[in-house]
Amino acid sequence: MSQHDNNHEHHGIGYGGLTLVWLGLLALTSITVSIAGISLGEYTLFVAMGIACVKSILVVNYFMHIKFEEPIFKVFIGISLFTLVVIFILTYFDISFR
């Protein structure tokens, strides 16, 4: 092996930052659990999905380090998410028009 391309630096937010993100995730989880008992009518789904989105943004950016990576990774994740959204929308064409 002649190539070593490990020379890009590992920046991040350090242990303190990571702990903060972790606490944030725990807080969001407890919100999810506590509002599960409250009837929000048709907003239930949106609230639950909203919280889940915030949590995954935190995990993807900090724990999975995407915030500090090259743009190509962001493009890849963007394409995957876009596909997922399209799949959701198409499924709703069935569920909501039945």
Partner: protein, 548 residues
Amino acid sequence: MANGTVALEEKSFYEESTNRWNKGILAWIFSTDHKRIGLLYLYGISAFFLVGVLAGILMRLELIAPGKDLFEPQFYNQLFTLHGVIMIFLFIIPGLPAIFGNFFLPIQIGAKDVAFPRLNLLSWWIYVVGAIMALISIVLPDGPLDTGWTFYVPYSVRSGTNISLAIMAAFVLGFSSILTGLNFITTIHRMRAPGMTWFRMPLFGWSMYATAWIQIIATPVVGITILLVVLERYFGIGIFDPTLGGDPILFQHLFWIYSHPAVYIMILPAMGVVSEIIPTFARRTIFGYKAIAMSSLAIAFVGYLVWAHHMFTTGISDTSRIIFSLLTFIVALPSGVKVFNWVATMYKGSIDPKPPFIWVMNFIFLFSIGGLTGLVLGSLATDIHVHDTYFVVAHFHYVMFGGVGTIFFAALYYWFPKMFGRMYNIKTANIAAALYFVAFNMLYFPKFIMGYMGMPRRYYDYLPEFEAMQQISTVGSWLMGITMILIFGSLIYSMKKGKKAHKNPWGGVTLEWHIESPPTLENFHEIPTVKTEPYDFSQLKEMDYESK
């Protein structure tokens, strides 16, 4: 490895191990060499394929006359499930990427190996573990599963057979597929030789790239879905069970969100192989290189958007039926782009009809029938009539077997001399291709007619009016069995006894034809610098090829 001596460089990968065992099975099953791993897949996948063929022939035997002939209805159900599961999960999905992708993708882009050789070996091991789990599920006391390869709820939740283990096997096999995809995407992004720009990459590489994306994005969906079935069986979580507020149709949505793109995991690599073989034997650069490359990506993307065409009769909403029917027709566009470009490549070429080319002609014919009957199924009104009949069975055999299966053989005949350094008998190969064509159409064409007349799929019995056609089909299955014996027999013989192959027997110009047959451990003496587009046949003048 440091600069090898001349003596070292002339050894082929068969003679040089990547681990501490020099010889024997351990030197193979723990090898991280992409070529050895490709061959390991070849042996495993071919073995399962033959088991699947045997199950198919047995089913056809039961159908030789109306009424019960050989076995009980339950055994027929288990046979078609076994046949479907083997053919889909163990043969056709991993087939081309795992065998030929592993062996040739790195070579075609000028690399020594894939980006993650150990992960590559792991993916083979995961394949083996998944396959063993599937085999165990057959022999355990409750018996092989009987749901069909689609595991539809509610039956898969209720059936008393070994569903859970078989489903876990499919789950594990999915991981193998994901790892292969991950490896290929990274390899293509990071390991291309100097000068090998994206648009100088052989089209097989493009098709592997598109395939790898589907493997990564879609496979987890089916993994989770079938895990939910297991949870439903053990804990009654109610996600698919209507009495608990669940929705059985949701299973079909989730299942096909993977399994439809999975048909593109099967066909895209096959289309890539076709785009390699046609220029080589027409001695002409491919027509519309960029259009073919981009149509692979387009197929991969549009392939995500059509899954509900498997569900037109399940009671999904009319709005979605119309949308999915429309989207289905759109997939025909990029597929059409490819077929027209291939035909245009042959136009005014100097065609040399060697066996790989003849197999590709088989492909174009059979796949076109499969693809066009797909449009019959994709249009709502006609689908209502032929849904779940033999018409569908004929359609998917024409696309999967006639399309991808045919290209499996085409690829084998094309790259055999490179992989094994030996040549097979051309005449036998031609006879096999002709026999295959006859057998195939005998076996499956009657199924279109029977399906149109109303013969349902997955039945072990039928009305007397179908007898003649069922028998033609059964005789076709025997002929197909003979063809398989001929193909595998002659190739296995040639692996050992065939005459030494020239390093470029066909006059191909992509990178694999520039190196030794069989290749050395690191493929290239030194990493090549690429200066031309992939199918530039003017370089053939300076190359060493057989008819010179």
